[in-house]
Structure formats: C-alpha cells, structure tokens
Symmetry: C2
Subunit: 127 residues, 2 copies
C-alpha cells in the first residue's frame, strides 16, 4: 500500500504520515524508486498514533511509548512512564469534568426561566 491509500484508509493527510515517519512513529519500506510502501497493519498504527495525539501526548512522548505498546521494551522506567502518562490523562479527564460541570451550571441557569428575560423566543430553531 502506498502513502495515498494509507492516508485515505486512516483518515489523515499524506503530509501527516510523512511527519509521523520524520518523528520516528511510523516506518515504511521503500520501493526502488524511493516511494513508501506500507503493510496493512499500518492503518491500525496510524489510528493508535492519532488516539495518543488526541489524548494530548506529544510526538516525543508517543515515540517513547510505542516500543512499550509493541511490547518490545519492558523496563521499570518504561512502566513508570506508562503510568505517568496514564495519570496525566486521568488528571486531564478530571479537568475536563470540572469544565463540563461549570458549563452545565451555566446551561442550567440559562435554561431555567429565572434569568431575567421572561419570554425568549425559545425552541423556535431548536429542530
């Protein structure tokens, strides 16, 4: 599979895939002409990378974690790193919950009819 197909299948841009390779997150075989060729499991690898990016991890951190995910590295240090990142994610979830709670309060206030405006043109465009 060449880069365009992988990009389509994984739902990311070609540029992003090249960037992942540059960061050491994704490797590819090269054809005689220099074109990248990927195996099918590259799609899952890209999914994983995206998931970790979405969780707020940096390229560098992902680079450190991937060998653990591949079960190729298993040292006390690597385990500590894994736990550290998991805890970071936990803290981030906590923060998000707080923000969500705060927004919910605002929403509740704005939807209860005690907000000062007696009659708004409610649910006119709510669909």
């Amino acid at each position: 599979m060449r880069i365009g197909e992988l990009a389509t299948k994984a739902g990311v841009s070609v540029r992003a895939l090249r960037y992942y390779e540059e960061q050491g997150l994704l490797s590819a075989a090269r054809s005689s002409g220099g074109q990248r060729h990927y195996l099918d499991d590259a799609v899952d690898r890209v999914y994983l990378i995206q998931m970790l990016y979405a969780a707020g991890l940096s390229s560098r951190t992902i680079l450190d974690l991937l060998p653990c995910v591949d079960a190729k590295v298993n040292t006390p240090q690597s385990r500590a790193m894994l736990r550290a990142e998991r805890d970071r994610i936990d803290r981030q979830i906590t923060q998000l919950r707080q923000a969500r709670k705060r927004l919910d309060e605002v929403i509740a206030l704005s939807e209860s009819p005690a907000s000062g405006c007696t009659r708004t043109n409610t649910d006119a465009s709510v669909a």
Copy 2:
C-alpha cells in the same frame, strides 16, 4: 490590584494576562499613568479562563461563551453554543477514556510476568 499581583494570585504570567485582554477575555481599568488595575474578582475570572483553555476551548470560543457565563447573554443561539461546547468536551472525555483504556492494557501486559522476559532487573532503581 496591578497586573503582577494578579498574575501571582492567579498563577499565570503577566504576558498571559495581557494576552487575555488583547483577546477581549479580561478587562482592566487604567490608572492615569496607563497601568492596568484589576478588581479582586479578576482572579476568579482568570481561573475560569484557564479552566476553559484547559478544556481545549480557543480564545475565540471562550470569548463567545463568557457573556453567557456572566448571564448577560441568553439567546437560543447562545444556549445552543453552550450545549455544543459541552458536547465537544464530552466527546473529548470519551476519547481520553479510550486512550486511557489502551494505556491500561499496555500497563497490565507489561506488569504481568508473561511478557517474554523471565527476569528483568525489576525494582532495582525504583527508589
């Protein structure tokens, strides 16, 4: 209270506070000499801004939301926006949970003694 004190109390940099003002998120009175002066509640306002930044909202989105938080704007549109952001946060939490779950699986694997390496130099440098 001047900008330095607010920065200290709210735990952000002076530069950040000037940036918030530039983005319209935080207003300040000015002394005759042009220096910014804040009321005590500015601290909470900065906390709120930070919370929303931490939740992944952009300056622009926060700018749109703040009038709702201040209960100064309450229209069908603003309520829809609030719900949209809350839902975005929910989706983000879901993503984070997935990532966390994935990491937990890796951690479980690396801590169970079936990872291929029979005897690692475990807890030698764990402190």
